[in-house]
């Protein structure tokens, strides 16, 4: 215990910079159903941490990331579908919070890009080949 308190103080120092408080229970705890946990993890990797420099909430130590992870797990445990949870997050922070662009509008163009590029390059390259007559 004598050693514990200084350790706590050491670790507490940076925490003060962002306030101190309990971490939500499900931020760092897995759901008991492995299929649901896998679903939650997949979703977490595609949601952006609000306070970070481009990390997903699954890869971040920030407190808001923990809160978001807890929310995701809670909703999955309650039976919500991942798409519904993604929309819930988008409703609060806009499209920016989702790493997966939506299928409508500008996002659709982005999703079609690989196919368009592939077909274009194949068409351009067809002049390269020598056809045996």
């Amino acid at each position: 215990m004598r050693v514990f308190v200084p350790i706590l103080l050491m670790l507490a120092a940076p925490v003060f910079a962002q306030g101190s408080g309990p971490t939500p229970a499900l931020a760092n705890r897995q759901l008991s159903d492995p299929a649901k946990e896998a679903e939650a993890t997949r979703l977490m990797h595609s949601l952006r941490c609000i306070q970070c420099q481009g990390q997903s909430i699954a890869d971040s130590d920030a407190s808001m990331a923990g809160t978001m992870r807890a929310e995701v797990r809670q909703q999955i445990a309650a039976g919500q579908k991942p798409e519904a949870i993604r929309n819930w997050m988008i409703q609060r922070y806009g499209e920016w919070v989702s790493f997966e662009p939506d299928f409508k509008g500008a996002g659709l163009l982005l999703w079609l890009t690989p196919l368009i590029l592939l077909l274009t390059s194949l068409w351009v390259a067809r002049g390269l080949f020598w056809r045996r007559t």
Binding site: V3, F4, P6, I7, L8, M10, L11, A13, P14, V15, S20, P22, T23, N28, R29, Q30, A35, A38, T41, H45, S46, R48, C52, Q53, G54, Q55, S56, A58, D59, S60, D61, G94, E95, W96, V97, S98, F99, E100, P101, A106, G107, L110, W111, T113, P114, L117, L118, S121, L122, A125, L128, F129, W130, R131, R132
Partner: protein
């Protein structure tokens, strides 16, 4: 004194670059000139001066001369020596000086070693290299002076970012820079050849070793960066499609395509326009990467100092060089005659397919990375991240790997699949069998890991097929290199697929004495102790991992640095032949309940990702050795027509 000497050296080197450039100009315009004989010596002197300047900066970091602004901002008197030295390039100005130094030294190296191309082309190449160097010298001297003084000098220094105080990361930037700047040689050769109408096998043979060398460094640099992120960031990820990571991957993709294309040009005199275009694009991507990292227009955990003024300078340089190069391409490529024809089903055809797939992946990554900026211009704030990049690039990578199963076995010019029918049936059998086996025993894993494993198994066999019928000791090194590199790709993809499909994760909180399970392992936390290092303090967990009666000790740490203040996690890794146990200790659970957050992963075959990358680089090195051995024996006379 040393700082001023370093600065003077840079000025002198810049004037050498100017001389080199003007000399080349007079050669191209007038056919000859008094400045022409000075081009090579100018390149040599430029290389020497730059090297001196760089070592001067390194010396300043070594002695921690705090009267130099750069040292004061990025170093600290208490830092360990190796990181003091690595701090030389761990910042914007120092890394630009490294860039310019490698550029100058490469120019000197071409001047010294290159005997395969005509003198005119060599001079044109050196002139282009000088032109490139001029721009970056100007950037250094006018916008990012590494030798600026700070008066009065501070006592301690601000310190190096703790994340960079790591051996792997200390060497990651130089490796990458050798790669990026090495591609500048390909760029200079390509433009030089265009200007002197020498786009042909001789130029390709001259350029090939440089491309190989740069590519090997890029491969190692990217793999090292990925491994560093894996063990340092504490969440087990090894690729995040972060803009800066993408910025390093794009030149690599272009360089890989260039590598294959240049071999076709060298041996078969085909794919001339492709080769030149890829050489220009590869260096353009290097510069684009340098720009993206330093300009601040993209948000990234890796981004350097955010300074729009510097960003504008580099952008201007990049647009000028790329723009001019593409203009020269468009104007001159018409004078390059069509190469030897070939059919769709041929080795050349296979390499065209390879070029197409790699270029499409490159374009997708480029567009995806820049998309948020375009969207913001139109008022929308969106994010493009791993879910998009994975889904957009993996299908094309699948096509690429399918092509790889057959491509290296095709004959040049034209071939006929019936010759390979037994192999095709065999490959299809491997694929089908693997897919069915995985689906049967692990139906819950995703489509991509499943395809990845099946394809990598097939490729692991396919990679060795070119050796069939050859005496191993008489196989040319380049062929051996190809086999090793392709096999390395199979190993790497296998690792990626296994890790993403079959990892197990356990997140929990343990008090000393408690244990948690993951994938057959039982990991017990015995104790938690404070530990002190050179410039950090940490909490270290004493943990024991047990499986099948074997026990191993692990010591993950949660480190706190003070100057500057930052917390990092040092994961404990236990490597076995079939994967890694990844253990992290994080914050105390709730204040006072005595538990610590612990994260455990079992990642099957994850090390194969980096072993595979090492094999790929090794394959390249073997091929390079083969090329260099040959070139020493060959005379400088070209046997191909070069019109």
């Amino acid at each position: 004194m040393i700082a001023e000497a370093g600065l003077a050296a840079i000025w002198l080197a810049a004037s050498m670059a100017l001389l080199q450039f003007i000399g080349g100009l007079t050669l191209l315009r007038a056919g000859a000139g008094q400045l022409v004989p000075l081009i090579k010596p100018a390149a040599y002197v430029q290389g020497v001066l730059c090297t001196f300047a760089f070592f001067a900066l390194m010396w300043l970091f070594y002695v921690t001369d705090l009267s130099v602004l750069l040292v004061a901002n990025n170093s600290h008197i208490d830092k360990p020596v190796i990181f003091k030295l690595a701090g030389t390039w761990g910042n914007h100005e120092g890394s630009m000086l490294l860039w310019v130094t490698i550029l100058s030294v490469s120019g000197a190296a071409i001047a010294f070693l290159e005997k395969r191309v005509e003198a005119k082309t060599l001079s044109a190449t050196l002139a282009v290299q000088g032109f490139l160097a001029l721009g970056f010298f100007a950037f250094l001297l006018f916008s990012s002076n590494p030798f600026e003084r700070l008066v009065p000098a501070p006592i301690e220094g601000a310190g190096l970012n703790p994340l960079l105080q790591d051996v792997g990361l200390a060497f990651h930037p130089p490796t990458l820079y050798f790669g990026y700047v090495g591609l500048s040689i390909a760029f200079s050769f390509a433009v030089g050849a265009l200007l002197t109408n020498q786009v042909g096998p001789a130029f390709a043979r001259a350029m090939r070793p440089w491309v190989l060398g740069a590519w090997i460094f890029l491969t190692i640099g990217i793999a090292a960066g990925s491994y560093w992120a894996y063990y340092e960031l504490g969440w087990g990820g090894w690729w995040f499609w972060d803009p800066v990571e993408n910025a390093s991957l794009m030149p690599w993709l272009a360089a890989t395509a260039l590598l294959h294309s240049v071999s076709v040009l060298a041996t078969r005199n085909a794919l001339r326009a492709w080769t030149v275009m890829l050489a220009l694009v590869a260096f353009a991507m290097s510069m684009a990467g340098t720009f993206l990292v330093r300009s601040g227009i993209l948000t990234s955990v890796h981004a350097f100092a955010v300074d729009p003024e510097r960003g504008s300078f580099i952008l201007a340089l990049m647009l000028m060089y790329t723009g001019l190069a593409f203009v020269i391409f468009a104007l001159r490529i018409g004078t390059v005659k069509q190469g030897e024809p070939f059919q769709l089903l041929s080795r050349e055809g296979g390499i065209v397919a390879n070029n197409i797939f790699l270029s499409v992946i490159l374009a997708v990554i480029l567009i995806g990375t820049l998309y948020p900026i375009a969207a913001e211009a139109l008022g929308d704030k969106i994010s493009v991240g791993p879910p998009y990049f994975n889904k957009a690039t993996v299908p094309i990578a699948v096509l690429l790997m399918l092509a790889l199963l057959v491509g290296p076995l095709l004959r040049w010019r034209r071939d006929d699949l019936s010759r390979l029918k037994y192999w095709l049936i065999g490959a299809a059998a491997i694929l089908l069998f693997s897919c069915l086996a995985i689906w049967r025993f692990a139906p819950e894993i995703g489509m991509f890991p499943l395809l990845g494993i099946a394809l990598s198994l097939a490729l692991a066999v396919a990679a060795w097929m070119p050796l069939r019928g050859r005496k191993l000791l008489r196989t040319p090194f380049p062929v051996l290199g190809m086999v090793v590199a392709h096999f390395g790709l199979a190993v790497s993809v296998f690792g990626m697929a296994a890790e993403s499909g079959f990892s197990s994760e356990t997140l929990t909180a343990l008090a000393p004495g408690e244990s948690a399970k993951v994938a057959g392992w039982e990991v017990k936390l015995s104790d938690v102790n404070p530990v002190v290092g050179d410039n950090w303090v940490a909490v270290e967990g004493e943990m024991i991992a047990a499986k099948n009666g074997n026990e191993f000790a692990l010591h993950p740490q949660s480190r706190q640095f003070f100057k500057p203040p930052m917390q990092t996690s040092e994961a404990a890794l236990l490597t076995r032949w079939n994967g890694q146990l990844y253990v992290v200790i994080a914050q105390p659970d709730q204040e006072g309940n005595g538990r610590w957050q612990v994260r455990l992963w079992w990642k099957p075959f994850v090390t194969f990702i980096w072993y595979g990358a090492i094999l790929i680089a090794l394959g390249g090195a073997i091929a390079l050795l083969g090329r260099m051995g040959r070139r020493a024996k060959r005379p400088a006379i070209n046997t191909w027509q070069t019109e």
